[in-house]
């Protein structure tokens, strides 16, 4: 009923190939975007913006990056946080060392640096796959963090190795309040998400999926595995790099290696597992789940006046149990649940 498609005719190839073929989906998406851009900055509290929505959007972008690599191209990676760190440190250095560097360009250049590092560490994927590749990408995590603590040029010889991020200023307009930072992050994430959605629908995305499903067969039908895999590494690392730069500049306010620990890589991996591997929407759902659940549990425990140590242990337990529950009940993640729900709604109230 909610998805009644009767009367929606697609008469051109353009109409047939659009991202959201059902009119209801288009309306909901546009309305959500409109509310997110126009209404949310005015009605949401600074806490909601700066402590919930901004990290949610940034982690969505990082999860999107990992999803391109792992979900679409089938290359398991544990180095997501390292690529984010490269993006953050590179952007910081571009702004610090080149006078008059536009901030957005610095983010893009930071992403490109991450892409280069991604290509370098993606090279082993040509020979190894699966768990072995995961172990190889783990090396990225250790190597990048080691470099960042070791080479003090990267932190401009700061005695402690922790540097504060510069103010975000774009064309003389300072993004220094939670509202402005939120709008900036939202626009960057929305743009890159649209790009990713189109990318995975294009022949590039199809070749990624072909390599993921069976690389031998893909090679036989004329897909060059080397180029495809390295392109996936580059694009994925670019997304992670931009996410890392936003994480440092729009959320943390500092640029430091410890913020990009292995723990963060795992969290982003959980996001795509819970959200849905190989799904753009899944990246957002997974990020929302992982960002919101601990905060929600924490606030709930506080409402029940539990001591903080009990509260945080409870948080870990509930979190772990939910992850296991999801993996057993719906291994394809929240995105798949939404898809099932949508199909049910199409037939409702007369399932057959």
């Amino acid at each position: 009923m909610f998805y009644r498609e009767a009367g929606q005719f697609r008469t051109t190839y353009e109409a047939d190939g659009q991202i959201l073929p059902i009119r209801q989906d288009r309306i909901v998406l546009l309305a959500t975007l409109a509310i997110a851009v126009v209404a949310v900055p005015f009605i949401a509290s600074p806490y909601l913006l700066s402590a919930i929505l901004i990290p949610f959007l940034i982690f969505s972008l990082a999860a999107l990056g990992l999803n391109i690599l792992t979900g679409y191209a089938g290359q398991l990676s544990l180095g997501t946080a390292a690529f984010m760190a490269v993006g953050a440190f590179a952007s910081w250095n571009f702004v610090a060392r080149i006078p008059g560097m536009p901030m957005l360009l610095a983010f893009v250049l930071g992403g490109l640096c991450a892409a280069l590092v991604g290509i370098a560490f993606g090279l082993p994927s040509l020979r190894i796959r699966g768990f072995y590749l995961a172990a190889a990408t783990l090396a990225t995590q250790f190597f990048v963090i080691w470099c960042l603590t070791k080479i003090s040029w990267l932190t401009n010889y700061s005695p402690s190795g922790v540097i504060t991020a510069q103010r975000i200023e774009i064309m003389g307009y300072a993004f220094d309040t939670p509202q402005r930072k939120y709008v900036l992050v939202l626009l960057v994430v929305a743009l890159l998400a649209l790009l990713a959605k189109n990318l995975v629908r294009s022949n590039v995305g199809r070749s990624w999926m072909a390599v993921r499903d069976m690389d031998m067969a893909a090679e036989v039908i004329g897909i060059r595995p080397m180029r495809t895999k390295l392109l996936a590494f580059a694009v994925s690392s670019f997304y992670c790099g931009v996410a890392g730069a936003l994480y440092a500049f729009a959320y943390l306010g500092t640029v430091e290696p410890e913020a990009y620990s292995l723990d963060l890589s795992f969290r982003i991996l959980f996001m795509i597992i819970i959200g849905g591997v190989g799904s753009i929407l899944g990246s957002f759902l997974g990020a929302a789940f992982i960002v919101l659940l601990p905060v929600f549990l924490n606030i709930a425990a506080h409402g029940l006046a539990l001591p903080t140590s009990v509260a945080s242990n409870l948080e870990l337990m509930v979190f772990g149990a939910l992850i296991i529950f999801f993996l057993i009940v719906e291994p394809h993640g929240l995105a798949r649940l939404w898809q099932i729900g949508k199909e049910k709604l199409r037939l409702w109230p007369f399932p057959h």
Binding site: I52, G161, V162, L252, L285, P294
Partner: protein, 431 residues
């Protein structure tokens, strides 16, 4: 799907648990009691809360009771920022924050002047925040890492008859921001006093140090500075014993000088020395905490044996400093009513806790006298050296040690002015 109900419920709950407390002074405590550094966090925040509870039981500061709220950060910068954002608006707004974590402190460093909430950093970085002209809202009270490093060198020089010329000192450090912080001071002093500085990093968390201690043994140093944190400390002590390196020659930083570091090392730790800004021992204020709080079941620590332990005493010290800042601010801005964050900042900048004041709160000589000003947000820079006798810590320097203050001041000015230039801050004292 998941997002909307969570937000709605979350805001409802947050609204329900934050009624207005007009006559209370609210302090934000982004604490950590789980995770790898829980032992330090629980002791430190336990100490602060115990002291606050004690002050409240006696009627508060001129009748104003202290309110506080904890938020678990797990020592994670991202969680810490979220906690700060959540706590800062609770109960009419936070007027003081203490995250006890370098990363979290850095993460909120730019936000606190905007929110007008002073932040204390009791005994951790960033050292150059002692310059109140550039960092008006940041207070590395008592002593920063740089003052501590200078005091360490002073102590070692005194031990060697006043000069370290021709000696060899190993700096065995946690390879992170924390471990690298004292390097500018140690390097400058090595050049000035003519001793050789050998830098040996340990990759975090530092649970394996065989190679490092082999290197140390080959270098035959006169002293080893152990700039460690967490599990690294007890591993260092045990590995030193296994390699036959005398523990008396090891001097730990104050994050390597608690019961949690020495007790797990067993006999290996006997004779080990470490820095502290507390004189170990018993004080009237600790007795009061025992009788008035723990006897009635209102104490914060689960294990009563930890009362008066290094981390607990450090927390009590922090509590005393906070309460004295409130008192100082109330004396200027009106007694008997809570002060704002800006007024609290003024109070922290005009602290004057001499021996008489320490006696009045039952903590005479528990920590050095603290006198802050706009130029000096540290207020002391004095430390002590303590030694583990196998059962407890004993102070082995009767007087407070102060290192080369002029050198530290010079480095603070250089570094903070660089920060000011980067951030377009015009250094100036606030009224």
């Amino acid at each position: 799907m998941k997002l909307l109900p969570s937000i709605v419920l979350g805001t409802l709950l947050a609204g329900a648990i934050a009624p207005a407390f007009a006559q209370e002074q609210f302090v934000a405590l982004p604490s950590y009691r789980v995770g790898p550094y829980a032992s330090g966090g629980s002791g430190f925040y336990g100490g602060i809360i115990d002291y606050f509870a004690l002050v409240n039981a006696a009627g508060g500061v001129n009748g104003v009771k202290i309110a506080w709220q904890e938020c678990e950060t797990e020592y994670n910068p991202s969680r810490g920022v979220e906690c700060y954002e959540r706590l800062k608006t609770q109960q009419g707004g936070a007027t003081l924050v203490e995250p006890l974590s370098t990363s979290i402190a850095y993460g909120i460093l730019d936000r606190i002047p905007q929110d007008k909430i002073p932040m204390t950093m009791l005994g951790y970085g960033r050292s150059d925040a002692a310059n109140g002209k550039v960092f008006p809202y940041v207070f590395p009270l008592i002593s920063s890492y740089w003052s501590q490093a200078a005091a360490m060198v002073k102590y070692l020089a005194d031990k060697n008859g006043g000069s370290l010329k021709g000696k060899k000192i190993v700096h065995l450090y946690h390879d992170s921001a924390f471990g690298k912080e004292p390097l500018p001071v140690l390097e400058a002093l090595a050049k000035q006093q003519g001793f050789e500085l050998v830098k040996v990093p340990v990759a975090p968390p530092g649970s394996e140090q065989q190679a490092q201690w082999l290197q140390i043994r080959q270098a035959r140093p006169d002293h080893v500075i152990l700039w460690g944190w967490g599990v690294m400390n007890s591993v260092a002590i045990k590995t030193a014993q296994r390699n036959g390196f005398p523990r008396e020659k090891i001097l730990g930083v104050w994050w390597a000088g608690s019961e949690e570091d020495t007790v797990p090392s067993g006999d290996a730790a006997k004779g080990y020395t470490a820095m502290s800004f507390n004189t170990p021992g018993n004080y009237p204020v600790l007795d009061e905490i025992r009788t008035k709080l723990y006897k009635t079941g209102k104490g914060n620590l689960a294990d009563q044996a930890r009362i008066g332990s290094v981390y607990h005493m450090r927390g009590v010290t922090a509590g005393i400093l906070f309460v004295e800042a409130m008192r100082t601010a109330q004396e200027k801005f009106g007694k008997g009513k809570p002060v704002t964050g800006e007024q609290m900042r003024w109070g922290l900048e005009h602290l004057n806790i001499d021996l008489a004041r320490q006696k009045a709160v039952g903590a005479a000589n528990m920590f050095p006298t603290v006198k802050t000003s706009c130029e000096d947000h540290e207020g002391s820079g004095a430390v002590k050296v303590q030694q583990w006798d196998g059962k407890k810590w004993v102070a082995i320097t009767p007087n407070w040690i102060v290192g080369d203050r002029a050198l530290v001041k010079k480095l603070i000015d250089e570094s903070s002015n660089k920060y000011a230039a980067e951030k377009n801050i015009k250094p100036a004292c606030m009224p």
